[in-house]
Symmetry: C2
Subunit: 316 residues, 2 copies
């Protein structure tokens, strides 16, 4: 079903955004029953984009293993000297069922922010179920802490990767590990149950629908676990203390806007420095668009947040 | 028309909020044609609430005149000693057509934040038109700057008062006046034209509809001025420099969510320290509810923001 944008809605977004929305369609429910095909279609579109980003930013890509988990190391051609010791720990999105470590956010982080990115190639569903991806990312995080020191790590995640990141960090906190210097969440999915205000009002306004999201979680990822389990849907998790400074990026058209809003208050109430970025008329994953004015502005705000945190640590 | 709340929307808001929404109705278009009656009905409901707040917080109320404009001085029974020199400059909401200086936000500011509030009884529409209210508030602000010093003033406004405040501050900036120490906007109306994403998706979900808002602006307030005039709808204003540190409070159900989002980016892009508070499932003016958990949390966040700014100024 195509998305709808009224003339008065077009007035407050960029022409590029209006064009994107007018051409966009919601992912059909059938995608859940044909995961192999869905992955192929998705990857066919992404491969060319990824390669253009690698070329544009002259990135150096290398496959390694950390904690027995495949990780992609993405190194920028030039790096901010003050921050050469700092690295990004990236967990990609894709509804737990698709996407790879060589994804746009990881590539743009390396290219635009200028830090080396360690992007996890965690195992996808339905081949593996919850909590395998979290355990893999925790294994990578543990090894990154040993190698780089927690205060040199910035955790970045998108969509489903946001659930993995949040639960990984809570697990790390419970195990007594030092936490990263900062966290950045792009339109994160931290409540897989489908509860929330925007899950209703953005249901037919975004590229993902609430039905597809909840059905995919139940059928492909959760493996029978209650969708409100505290580490499956970490918006419900008990926090033992503040998380690192965190920035959360979303838009008014994001199906997951309410989750971002609730995550903001949860982290703030737990005592952590938290910033919420909401962009007018923007959809789930809009930050993925390299040239979209709203996406450029949102990514810059995320980079500013990260740089400020790293600068503070550097000074002290 | 009653508002609608689904079971999955109720899961992420307080029971009190769900109860409020289930009982709430949207303001009918007829209200615009019967302003006198609308004011009477509104004030009949408000008077008791206002008196209970005055009693609860043991507030001392006094009518004065500043710059030939009637102002209500609301003094708290006890005040934070460090901040006794600081005062609030409050501009109430009510769609430019109703409400008075003795309004809930002004009373709660005095009672909960502990600062003396100067709340402007500006002239209402349709008796007077744009830009009379702005000129009255500017006259009050000028006198407050002389009396207290700009750095001791915190500007607070709600809904339509947000338009008056924003345009007043821009006018003050253009006239070379020093700006307040901080600004707080509660669900502000800074685009009277009806443009924006939430003006569509929250149109039948909030206590005000976009049709009523735009029609009221055209018929009662604007006096024939283009609704996108830069001081009538100050989201379109050219800014000559950063505004003071500003916090903006809204909710996912607020008809004016998009305006708050756009105001955030406008002030941020102009170089000002800006914070956006979005509360899950909350409507236009939800912060007015004394006992609502979401409102208490949002007001506390606003007070924290103001106190931090004032403390910084105090130290330097």
């Amino acid at each position: 079903m195509p998305l709808h944008v009224t003339p008065t809605q077009k007035e407050t977004i960029s022409p590029q955004a209006a064009e994107f929305l007018s051409a966009a369609e919601s992912i059909p429910i059938e995608a859940i029953n044909s995961v192999t095909l869905t992955r192929q279609v998705f990857q066919a579109a992404e491969t060319a984009v990824e390669e253009s980003l690698i070329e544009r930013f002259r990135l150096e890509i290398r496959d390694i293993t950390m904690g027995d988990v495949p990780v992609l190391v993405i190194r920028p051609s030039s790096s901010d000297l003050r921050h050469q010791a700092r690295v990004v720990f990236d967990i990609h999105g894709g509804g737990f069922v698709m996407g790879t470590a060589r994804e746009r956010t990881a590539l743009m982080m390396a290219g635009e922010l200028g830090l080396t990115v360690y992007s996890v190639n965690y195992s996808l569903s339905p081949e593996v179920k919850y909590p395998i991806a979290i355990e893999q990312c925790l294994a990578v995080y543990r090894e990154m802490v040993t190698k780089f020191g927690a205060k040199n790590i910035v955790g970045v995640s998108s969509s489903a990767g946001g659930q993995i990141m949040f639960s990984t960090i809570v697990r790390a906190q419970r195990e007594g590990f030092q936490l990263p210097a900062a966290l950045a969440f792009y339109t994160p999915n931290v409540d897989l149950s489908g509860a929330g205000d925007s899950n209703v009002f953005n249901n037919d306004r975004d590229t993902i629908s609430n039905e597809v999201m909840v059905e995919a979680m139940n059928t492909l990822y959760a493996g029978g676990v209650d969708l409100k389990d505290e580490l499956l849907s970490p918006i419900y998790v008990r926090l033992d203390g503040p998380l690192p400074p965190t920035i959360i990026n979303t838009g008014t058209r994001d199906l997951l806007l309410s989750q971002c809003v609730r995550l903001y208050w949860k982290l703030r109430d737990a005592g952590g420095k938290t910033e919420l970025l909401v962009s007018e008329g923007m959809w789930h994953g809009f930050n993925w668009e390299l040239e979209l004015p709203e996406a450029i502005r949102a990514r810059k705000a995320v980079y500013t947040f990260i740089r400020n945190i790293l600068d503070e640590i550097h000074v002290s």
